[in-house]
């Protein structure tokens, strides 16, 4: 089944010091503070005490350099994202007045969350003491102090921070940002070129000209859909602030904030939580760009660092949102929207990403715990799209099932909001242009306390999330579809059927929905109706062979599972229409193997693997075809590939065990069978097979245990019964 994903690839964030000012009324803090306005030391009549204060006041070497190195230099170094360097005393002196203004107003370092309303990691907010140090230093005419006591400046390598990446993706063509005009939002598509799946433990983005990049956000386009929408333009980047991409045909929710800002160029995921790239995926690099005054060329590249370990934990992104309620009258300085969401599972909140455009002012997110207690998750009193960011909690925030997440955003569409893109203000609604608005509060959550054997808890989250969207926007097709798909994923097929039928009322000829409804009916056991729906979907696709691939595949699979002979012809029709459909090729090959046509099967499977080398099922079936034709070594090699791709699949290990046994490697066969049973303990056949292998190697007590285990799981298991009887009669 397919699923549509609605995700903000969203906008803008934070730079380090980008804007500098020196208001006329603050010449007292200028490069040449007037003596009368310097600290009290210089004032007449203050006397000795003031002189002592002056001498013991902050110096660059003793006090200020360490503050700048810790809080500013990440961006403000030569070649960094900041517009100037702050590594030397001369630098600090050059920019001292602006440092004071920017830190006193807390414009810099960029950090929007209010302290005490969410305990975040990597807080960039200066302490009052640090701010005061800078202020006192500037007021005292920026003394250098003793250079010998100055800390060593941090070093910044022009190369990749984490060493050479395993894979570097580059934009297809450099993009030239004009020197003037308003900010630009552009989406660059970077196809993932590899033929196998990789897990990504870290990512670094090098924008090319970091000084003009406010922030970047990466969305994974699992289907390459956006690239196909812009076949002639995608190499140049696509204008736009937000995107909606198609999430493909399996439940695979977005799981990570792939958010870049100038002070965190390398994004390292927590242990056990890498993200995944499959062949055919695209990365969409969404950048918020600020003109510098001259044309700037951006030649962005993304460095990826792999890990061989698949994720041990499966986080998910969910969001509260009220785009439907955004209809902000011109001049309204206090327009409020709310949303809430009751958690259906226990979970940990790992991070939060508030998002609005230029009218957003006050952004709040909190949780009401089951005991009624209010727990703040984030509060931004003065929203600024230019400095937006993802905020990660220092420790995961544990929230129990029944907790209610809340957001409340306040917008200012008056002329006093200096960020207002319209002058005079106009009525503003939701939309993906920068002059439209948005109301989103994204969370990265990790479900916990999951019962063994329970459905993926993210499905329940998805269902609740989509129901929440439907409550606000009844009839929203994306929500209806995703809700139905989640229900189907949870095995609630009857509910899924009803939800898909509801969606179908709105668009009765939608190929995808007809196909998904068929799949849900199949799950509910209504396979004849399911097949009717698949046929309707094929009819609805008309001459569009590509969109008929899915319903044809589902129809053929259904026919195959129900023993209908039409399955072979249906698969052949599909393969003819969709020759690159690896699943169809594999399905057809499966029928051919059953019909003892291993030569044709090998041919189709070889094509399937060429199309998708990471398709484990194709390797598994190719092993069967080879085994059928007597090529046990070939079978072994394919099963080993399948086991690499699907190490947690008991069937593959079981298959390996059988082929190894056939080649005489009995002990290895026993090991593989044990591995299979570790993954699937209640497999009576598996225990019986283990018993046979152990009996063949003379391990009689172990074999007896295995047969007895099989019989405990299935007291009527005929082979286990006879094998146990035979074993006991022989010994």
């Amino acid at each position: 089944m397919k699923r549509i994903r609605s995700i903000a690839a969203v906008a803008a964030l934070a730079a380090c010091i980008v804007l500098l000012s020196h208001p006329r009324d603050s010449t007292v803090y200028g490069a040449n503070p007037r003596p009368s306005q310097a600290p009290a030391a210089a004032s007449p009549g203050v006397g000795k005490l003031a002189t002592i204060r002056s001498q013991s006041g902050p110096t660059w070497s003793g006090d200020v350099a360490s503050v700048l190195y810790k809080n500013c230099a990440t961006c403000h170094h030569p070649g960094g994202a900041g517009p100037f360097s702050l590594l030397t005393y001369a630098d600090a002196r050059r920019w001292g007045p602006q440092l004071m203004t920017a830190t006193q107003s807390r414009f810099m370092p960029p950090w929007l969350p209010e302290p005490g309303y969410g305990d975040f990691a990597d807080v960039r907010r200066l302490s009052d003491h640090e701010r005061d140090l800078i202020k006192q230093w500037v007021l005292a005419k920026m003394p250098q102090g003793d250079p010998a006591v100055a800390p060593a400046p941090p070093r910044y390598d022009a190369n990749w921070l984490m060493g050479k990446p395993d894979l570097i993706l580059k934009v297809a063509r450099p993009f030239t940002l004009p020197g003037g005009g308003t900010d630009a939002f552009r989406n660059f598509i970077l196809p993932y070129p590899l033929k196998q799946t990789h897990y990504i433990r870290a990512m670094e983005i090098r924008p090319g000209t970091p000084q003009v990049v406010h922030h970047a956000n990466i969305t994974i386009d699992r289907t390459g859909n956006l690239r196909r929408q812009f076949p002639n333009d995608w190499q140049n980047g696509i204008a736009g602030m937000e995107l909606m991409v198609d999430a493909g045909n399996r439940f695979d929710p977005d799981s990570h904030f792939l958010f870049w800002k100038p002070d965190t160029p390398a994004l390292v995921e927590p242990a056990g939580m890498p993200w995944r790239l499959d062949p055919g995926n695209d990365l969409i690099l969404n950048m918020h760009l600020k003109p510098s005054g001259k044309p700037e060329t951006l030649d962005a590249e993304v460095g990826l660092y792999f890990t061989p370990d698949p994720p041990a934990k499966q986080p998910m992104l969910i969001d509260l949102e009220r785009d439907d309620a955004l209809d902000i009258p011109a001049g309204d300085a206090n327009f409020v929207v709310d949303d809430s969401f009751t958690l259906p599972v226990d979970l940990e909140v790992l991070g939060v990403y508030p998002h609005a455009h230029y009218l957003g002012r006050d952004l709040q997110g909190w949780a009401i715990l089951p005991n009624g207690e209010k727990k703040w998750l984030v509060w931004i009193r003065n929203w600024d799209i230019d400095r937006q960011a993802v905020y990660r909690y220092k420790e995961p925030v544990l929230l129990q099932k029944g907790t209610v997440l809340h957001m409340r955003y306040t917008y200012d569409n008056s002329s006093t909001n200096i960020h207002n893109p319209h002058s005079p203000p106009v009525r503003v609604r939701a939309g993906n242009r920068s002059e439209d608005e948005m109301a989103h509060l994204w969370f990265q959550v990790l479900p916990i306390n999951v019962q063994p054997g329970a459905p993926d808890p993210r499905l329940l989250l998805e269902e609740t999330w989509m129901r929440n969207r439907l409550r606000k926007t009844p009839g929203d097709q994306v929500s209806l579809y995703n809700d139905a798909a989640a229900l189907a994923g949870e095995g609630k097929f009857a509910e899924a059927v009803s939800a898909f039928e509801q969606e179908l009322n709105q668009s009765p000829h939608d190929v995808r929905t007809l196909t998904a409804l068929g799949a849900a009916l199949e799950g509910a056991g209504e396979w004849q109706q399911a097949q009717q729906r698949f046929r309707s979907a094929i009819d609805a696709a008309g001459t569009d062979d590509a969109s008929a691939c899915d319903p044809r595949f589902d129809l053929a699979s259904s026919e195959f599972h129900h023993g209908q002979p039409e399955a072979a012809a249906e698969f052949r029709t599909e393969v003819a229409a969709c020759p690159e459909d690896a699943e169809a090729l594999t399905g057809l090959a499966q029928i051919e193997i059953e019909a003892n046509q291993s030569t044709q099967a090998v041919q189709h499977l070889t094509t399937a693997i060429r199309v998708d080398p990471s398709f484990a099922d194709a390797h598994e079936q190719l092993a069967r075809a080879y085994a059928q034709s007597g090529d046990l070594q070939g079978a072994l090699a394919e099963l080993e590939k399948a086991a690499q791709l699907k190490p947690d699949d008991a069937t593959v290990h079981s298959g390996l065990s059988q082929v190894l046994a056939a080649t005489g490697s009995l002990q290895q066969a026993i090991d593989e069978q044990r591995a299979a049973l570790k993954l699937l303990e209640d497999d009576a056949d598996g225990w019986n097979n283990l018993g046979v292998l152990e009996a063949r190697t003379g391990q009689v007590p172990a074999a007896r245990d295995a047969f007895q285990h099989a019989l405990r799981l299935d007291p009527q298991h005929p082979q286990a019964k006879s094998n146990l009887a035979r074993l006991q009669s022989q010994n």
């Binding site: 804007l19 208001p23 010449t27 100037f84 050059r94 005054g293 200096i418 960020h419 893109p421």
Partner: protein, 195 residues
């Protein structure tokens, strides 16, 4: 050529007749070839505009396209716009490189002794000063921000709503009262020559 220094205190400052003659025999600065700049106006020039800038100041640089626009708009109406670089680090090679990178075509003066800074009473880059040019007298009629895009550090409009400099030039050309700056200039402090 004389420069008439006015403390701008009223909206009708241009009618104030008191002025002081300073540095009558001193050059204004150097051009990028190292030659002295003796004249900012000249025949046919009715308005002289000085844009104080610094090659390393981001806000100053972001105004390059706007100044180019104003130059295109006013150059045939007897307006001469100068880029003035007053900071000690902005020597001829630095500024030449900068102007090349930003495709600056307007005339440029290196204010190596900061005479122009003092004459125009500016403190910031970017900051504009507008002079009515009459005979050999330059009378300052406007000093301040270019527009209201920046309100303070970190307070930036998506686009300006009030084009202060443009309005000042237009008013000067039309012999009308020159509207004064609606807010302080925002940018980078001009660096003192004193170490």
């Amino acid at each position: 050529m004389r420069i008439c220094l006015l403390r701008i205190t009223t909206l009708l400052c241009f009618v104030v007749s008191a002025c002081a003659l300073l540095h009558a025999n001193e050059p204004y600065g150097l051009n990028l070839q190292g030659a002295t700049v003796q004249e900012l106006g000249g025949p046919g020039i009715r308005v002289v505009v000085l844009i104080f800038a610094a090659s390393d100041c981001p806000i100053s640089n972001r105004y390059v396209p706007e100044i180019a626009r104003l130059n295109r708009e006013f150059t045939r109406q007897g307006v001469r716009i100068w880029w003035v670089f007053p900071n000690p680090e902005d020597n001829s090679s630095t500024v030449a490189e900068h102007n090349h990178a930003f495709a600056i075509t307007e005339p440029t003066v290196l204010d190596i002794r900061q005479h122009l800074v003092h004459l125009a009473h500016v403190t910031t880059t970017p900051e504009a000063a507008v002079f009515r040019s009459s005979g050999d007298v330059l009378r300052e009629v406007y000093r301040g921000r270019i527009d209201d895009r920046y309100l303070s550090i970190g307070q930036e409009r998506p686009q300006p709503q009030q084009h202060d400099l443009e309005a000042a030039i237009s008013a000067t050309l039309a012999d009308k009262p020159v509207p004064q700056s609606g807010g302080p200039p925002i940018g980078c402090s001009i660096v003192s020559l004193q170490k």
